[in-house]
């Protein structure tokens, strides 16, 4: 009997001898994450992409447009032989330039840019001249890129350059502003996408090459298949397109489409016969008749016949990414055939439809590729302008020979690039591309906000459309984009953030890959018979959306390919995966794919083991060694979906191919701040992601050297007691934004309703929540064309007391405020005056400059609260005008109404500040800094906050930091045990005594340290009231907004309340008397408005009476009159 059981067992589960031992957990394997970040950095995507542009792509662009010729002179040409981007420098005048640092540019409002120099060869008359290192423009340089002075510098060197060593770089400094080019997410180019369209199922391809961008569509209408393209006025029947591509026999068309049921194609094929198109010539003629005529025929090109034009367009524009040489359309025909096949397949089976929200179908556009688009466009324009100048100038007979170099002005390229980056308007004429808001000012509110901005991904999708698809969380985002970090409201789900370990690829050379695939047994597509392409054994091989060939043993191909990749024979970032649905093997090496590293698992055993990790810890091994040894590989979204990935070692089975490095890398930088996020309700983590960016603290080690327009600092920032691994990896513990406050979760006084907090006054006295607010004031000293210039004068002295006027009290003798002074509202910062005449050129020989009249335009301080002068900077900007920057400082202590938040999306304002003696205290004499109402918990379910408190408390008594890392972190049992060890209650609840009555409280109070962030919203900046004040000129109504000392609007809904209540006199008072009351004279005879008791239309004063009305009403009447409409008023005595 037992034997039988054993046999059955063996039969069912296999011989126990071959059972796998459970895979041992690789401890500390998360150490690979810091190793990864050490090589890659948190913003490496940007820097990699920009480096690729500046070192590789710019050369390709110049090479592709390397010759400028001229129709006027066949001998004339300019040839670019090389291009080089230098290191950033600044022009100090007189053609002397000196190297600069980003910080200098920030302070002096300059652009951190490097010269783009080219080697050229051109003709001057008949002479051939060569010039090297010729400046054609300046390129804004990304910080920490290969051309930046900060790259590969030690901490000490960076400090010498006034740069924070923890600053991630990856942004530009343009006109003194830090600008980030956001990552743009878009649909991948050159890929077939089958989806439900206007006429049912369609297959569309957006082709994109350097020269052309076009979209080709195949769809089904009626019972026929058509190709649509924006070149042609009408959809073209597929069969005609095939004929135009020299596929004449219907049989071959069917073979190329490769559908078993030929009947589906019959109506399409019939179309040819109906239209009597049997030859390529006829088909092209048909196509030629359908071409959308260009609005302006360019005279330069010789006029082509429609047939030739159609052939040209078919070769270059339709499916532009499929190369056609010498009008051999075979490969394009195969591609088109496949498109038709996809449509037919999708018609019968919905699973053939593609998902456009799927991240495998998306590409990220980074700074490098965007700048390269811009540069290519402007470089072409530059060349075009040179050409037109040459064409205009050469025919003229002139004394000097035409020297084209004189016309090569660097301003065009410089200004275009600077303008694009500083405004964010990406206008590329040749692709008719116009995008707004591509760049944003780097938010320097806190270190995390800057870091968060660098990882932001912007979707091209318009936010106005009401489709949920693009906004919802996609399963394929797993590990690539943070599931928590997205804004609320309008841009929800459209703006995303990269996860911690995401890498974005750059373009990789295709040639070695093609060679490898050929060697691995692929038949080239040109060699394959049409019938074989769609045979059931054959797998099509695609490279970046182009058909390369056919393979029968696809498994072998993929295995060889992966082997080569793991051995470093080809780039790590090339991906390969089979699609059984499409019977294809897809290989991608294009730029902009999201990918992420995984540990390779073979035969149920991860390749990385303890030994490797110890080597890593010792510093013998780097992350790159793991890659080179084939222990770790990068998978992009598509390949990830072809793999079996285990999250933990315990999940590994025989099928598993990869193992996650660390599960917390699923989240991004901002979500990484949240302790125990896996215990929170998910929206709370999202809220924290938004709020972490508003928290004030530290922004960088160089924060005291900066002169930003607005900068918030905490006086005593602290690293959180409850850390996460992401916090350490993002260096948040070195540049924190918040303080560990001891909180007691209890109700107190009723001033804590609706999430309000009760603060301990003694804590505030001791520096809790104290912050510094820096603002800057700036002025420029201009020079004018008439030789006059702005001037600054010293303080004005009161004639009697011989003391400076109150307004000028803080001024130094040079007329600029002195550092350390306290400055009050309406006092003068810089006593500047400008000449009253700036444009008129003074008559020569007239009195000299001292007769120039000046107008006072002092730079004043406008704020009710006084500030201190931190420092004053006097320098010159790029235009060589004097620049004066004044940094003002305020120190603020928390007051009622200031906003605080914990790291769990629990924000609240200060409701009450309580003396220490009124605060509850426990048996250790500890009284809380903050009292928080327990009603904040049940509905929000932020269990993570409870855990943070508990492990924070255990951490303080034990003297160590606890971890609240996502999907891990210190366990409650262990934390509780630690509390018990130190004599605390294991649940974190203590006996408290009321500070007011002195008796013990009935409940035990949950108390301990929780990390609190002070948010930038402070009462002092918002408080506003007015009794009397300025009015708008047009309507005479009070102005709006705090900055204009505006009134507080009694809006429509408030008005409704008053009407409902029947307080009519109150209404009149609010809406008229206190707003824009106006006395007007109305003529009772004609009903028109008069003035001074006189009606001008009746020419009498007999019937004129004065009434009161809102000025807005009077304005309406006069405006109507101006439009030739008379509104007549009829008056009557209201008490009659």
């Amino acid at each position: 009997m037992p034997d039988l059981l054993k046999d059955i067992n063996i039969e069912l589960f296999g011989d126990p001898m071959f059972y796998q031992k459970p895979v041992k957990e690789i401890e500390e394997k998360w150490k690979l994450v810091p190793a990864f970040l050490k090589v890659k950095g948190l913003v490496k995507q940007h820097i990699d992409s920009f480096n690729y542009f500046i070192n590789v792509e710019i050369k390709k662009i110049v090479e592709a447009n390397n010759k400028v010729t001229c129709d006027a002179d066949p001998l004339f040409y300019i040839k670019y032989t090389n291009v080089h981007v230098g290191t950033p420098d600044v022009d100090e005048g007189f053609n002397i330039s000196k190297p600069t640092t980003p910080h200098e540019c920030r302070l002096r409002d300059m652009t951190y840019s490097a010269p783009i120099s080219v080697d050229i060869e051109y003709t001057r008359g008949t002479q051939r001249v060569a010039k090297s290192g010729f400046l054609i423009g300046r390129m804004p340089i990304m910080l920490k890129s290969s051309n930046c002075v900060l790259s590969n510098k030690s901490e000490y060197e960076l400090a010498k350059m006034n740069e924070c060593p923890l600053d991630p770089g990856g942004y530009f400094v343009v006109k003194g502003q830090e600008k980030v080019i956001l990552i743009q997410e878009q649909l991948s180019k050159n890929r077939m996408l089958v989806e439900e369209g206007k006429w049912g199922i369609q297959c569309q391809v957006t082709s994109s090459t350097h020269e052309k961008k076009s979209r080709t569509m195949v769809f089904h209408k009626g019972n026929k298949y058509f190709m649509g393209h924006n070149l042609f006025t009408d959809p073209i029947p597929i069969s005609i397109v095939f004929k135009a591509m020299d596929i004449l026999s219907d049989r071959e068309i069917c073979e190329l489409i490769g559908v078993a049921d030929v009947n589906k194609l019959t109506p399409t094929l019939e179309e040819c016969h109906k239209l009597k198109i049997y030859t390529q010539e006829a088909a092209l003629k048909y196509l030629g008749s359908k071409i959308i005529s260009k609005r302006y025929a360019s005279s330069i090109y010789q006029v082509k016949t429609p047939t030739a034009e159609a052939r040209d367009l078919l070769a270059t524009t339709v499916l532009a990414h499929v190369p056609v040489e010498k009008f051999q359309f075979k490969s394009k025909a195969i591609y088109l055939g496949l498109m038709v096949k996809r449509v037919i397949q999708a018609q019968s089976d919905k699973k053939f439809l593609d998902d456009r929200d799927y991240y495998g179908n998306k590409r990220m556009e980074l700074a490098g590729s965007l700048v390269s688009l811009m540069f290519e466009d402007v470089f072409k324009r530059f060349n075009y302008e040179l050409k037109s100048i040459a064409e205009k100038t050469i025919p003229k007979i002139r004394a000097t020979q035409f020297d084209v170099v004189k016309y090569m002005r660097p301003e065009l390229i410089t200004n275009c690039l600077v303008f694009a980056i500083s405004t964010g308007n990406w206008t590329i004429k040749r692709f008719r591309m116009e995008r707004l808001g591509v760049t944003q000012v780097l938010s320097r509110l806190s270190y995390i906000s800057a870091l968060g901005m660098m990882t932001r991904v912007n979707s091209q999708f318009e936010s106005t459309r009401k489709v949920s698809g693009p906004r919802s969380l996609q399963p394929s985002q797993w590990g690539m984009l943070c599931p928590s970090d997205t804004p609320e409201g309008e841009a929800c789900g459209l703006v995303k953030n990269l996860a911690l370990m995401t890498h974005i690829t750059t373009d990789i050379d295709e040639y070695p890959i093609i060679r490898l695939v050929r060697n691995a047994g692929m038949e080239d597509i040109g060699m394959v018979a049409s019938i074989a392409i769609h045979s059931s054994e054959a797998f099509l091989v695609f490279l970046n959306g182009n058909i390369l060939g056919v393979v029968t043993d696809y498994k072998k191909l993929i295995n060889i390919f992966r082997l080569m990749r793991r051995h470093g024979m080809i780039s790590n970032y090339v991906s390969i995966y089979p699609s059984f649905l499409h019977q294809c093997v897809y290989i991608s090496c294009d730029g902009g794919r999201l990918c992420r590293p995984y540990i390779i698992v073979q035969n149920g055993c991860p390749l990385v083991n303890e030994l490797h990790i110890t080597e890593l810890q010792k510093g013998i091994r780097s992350f790159e060694d793991f890659l080179n040894d084939g222990l770790i590989e990068f998978l992009d979204v598509n390949e990830e979906n072809d793999s079996f990935i285990a999250c933990y070692e315990k999940d590994i089975t025989q099928q598993t191919t990869h193992l996650e490095i660390a599960t917390f890398t699923l989240l991004g930088v901002c979500a990484g701040l949240v302790p125990y996020p896996h215990h929170n309700q998910s929206p709370r983590n999202t809220y924290q992601c938004a709020m972490g960016k508003q928290a004030m603290g530290t922004i960088g080690y160089n924060q005291r050297n900066r002169m930003d327009t607005l900068l918030y600092n905490l006086v005593y920032p602290q690293a959180p007691m409850c850390k996460t691994k992401s916090i350490e990896l993002s260096n948040f513990d070195k540049l924190p934004a918040g303080q560990n406050a001891t909180i007691a979760v209890m109700s107190y006084s009723g001033y804590d309703i609706e999430d309000a907090l009760v603060l301990n006054k003694a804590s505030l006295d001791r520096g809790f929540g104290r912050c510094l607010v820096y603002k800057n004031s700036k002025c420029i000293m201009k020079r004018y064309p008439n030789q006059t210039y702005d001037r600054i004068q010293g303080p004005m002295v009161d004639a009697q007391t011989n003391q400076p006027l109150w307004k000028h009290k803080c001024l130094d003798n040079d007329g600029i405020v002195s550092p350390g002074e306290q400055i009050e509202n309406r006092q003068v910062l810089v006593n500047k005056s400008i000449p009253s005449l700036t444009s008129v050129v003074p008559v020569p020989g007239a009195a000299a400059n001292n007769s120039v009249e000046y107008k006072d335009t002092p730079l004043g301080y406008k704020n009710v609260e006084p500030s201190y002068i931190e420092k004053v900077l006097i320098s010159t900007n790029e235009e060589d005008t004097t620049l004066i920057k004044i940094l003002l400082r305020q120190t603020r202590r928390p007051e009622i109404g200031d906003k605080f938040s914990s790291r769990h999306g629990q924000k609240g304002v200060v409701g009450l500040i309580v003396e220490q003696e009124d605060m509850p205290f426990n048996e250790y004499g500890i009284c809380p800094d903050i009292i928080m109402n327990p009603h904040g918990y049940p509905s929000r379910m932020t269990v993570g906050k409870l855990l943070e408190l508990l492990s924070g408390k255990a951490g303080t008594v034990e003297g160590k930091f606890h971890y609240g890392t996502a999907f891990g972190g210190s366990k409650v049992e262990d934390v509780g045990e630690e509390l018990i060890k130190h004599g605390y209650n294991y649940q974190g609840k203590d006996v408290f005594y009321s500070g007011i009555t002195g008796e013990p409280l009935e409940a035990y109070i949950y108390s301990g340290p929780v990390y609190y962030q002070k948010l930038k919203h402070m009462v002092q900046d918002k408080i506003h009231a007015r009794a009397r004040g300025p009015r708008a000129v047009l309507t005479r109504q009070p102005t709006e907004g705090k900055s204009r000392d505006g009134g507080l609007r009694l809006g429509e809904m408030e008005r409704d309340c008053l009407i409902g209540y029947g307080a009519s006199m109150m209404l009149v008072e609010r809406l008229m008397v206190s707003s824009d009351q106006c006395e007007v004279d109305v003529c009772n005879q004609c009903g028109r408005l008069g003035y001074c008791g006189w009606c001008n239309s009746c020419k009498s004063s007999g019937q004129v009476s004065t009434i009161t009305m809102p000025y807005a009403c009077k304005l309406l009447l006069t405006e109507l009159q101006a439009m030739n409409i008379t509104a007549r008023l009829t008056l009557s005595h209201y008490c009659k």
Partner: protein, 336 residues
Amino acid sequence: MEIMNDEKPRIILTEHKVVNNFPTGPTVFDEHFEVKKFKKKLQIVIVRHDHLEMEFDLIGIHPFLANTFRRLMLSDVPTMAIDQVHILNNTSIIQDEVLAHRLGLIPIRADPRLFENKADAGGPVQEKETLEFELKIKCNKDSSKKDSSRAEDMYKNSNVYSKHIKWVPIGNQKSKFKESDVGPIHPDILIAKMRPGHEMDLKLFASKSNGKDHAKFSPVATAFYRLLPEIKIVKQVEGEAAYRLQKCFSPGVISVRTEGDKKYAVVNKNHARYDTSSRNVFRYEDLKDTVVMSKVQDHFIFTIESVGALPPEAIFKEAINILKDKCFSLLTELNS
């Protein structure tokens, strides 16, 4: 809940809340306040006392009175603290306001009883109201020590400590106070860090005020009390459970006694006082009902942690004086 059989008013710490437990007889809570009775019942036992910290028991007193003393000590007993800072020069990286704030929090040694409250804030400096200090320090390169990259060795005065604050006597203060009577209490409080070229030249004015005004004037780091805990084992706990029970309380509260081969837990007399009320017994289902934890409601264990300006007992006495004064002024108010 069983009542502990004595006449003391208690609270009992149950698993989820604190329960009042009054005896049948009269307690301080019921009594009408009468000085004679109060004098007879009041007991003060000093348990621990050194120059900065003191622990004593206040027995037989109503919580309102105990709490009043605590509150007065925290916020009404005055001390001297730096209140005004005249910044003549400050080129260090620390901002003027922050520096002033830090200086204010430094405890100053000066007997506040010898000073008067400042009459008007903007008024002239007066010897009976104000103490003047000076902080004048400059950081330089120190070339004497070589081969070191520590800031302390490379630079002179790279750290500004409270010991650098120098007292400047005004008027008759020189004769009234000794040099050792006036100055910062702790010499090693770090005020700022500087680098060569940084300089500070400050005039500091300390005045007298109380903790209500600002926490820096509070004479205590903290002053608080707790009620005397009492623990009673109501069911005998034996064997392994006894050790577990022992672990649930602070060390020394419970010991395990061996009698023959039987081991059982007993409460050490007079040691329950040091229990931290952690209530960790409630973790164990089987031990839950074996102990009753209570606190005597009229037995206050006071702890006063002085910052150093006044000895703890003086703070308490001052608090009593202030209470006295307050009562007097209330009485005169009522009578007038």
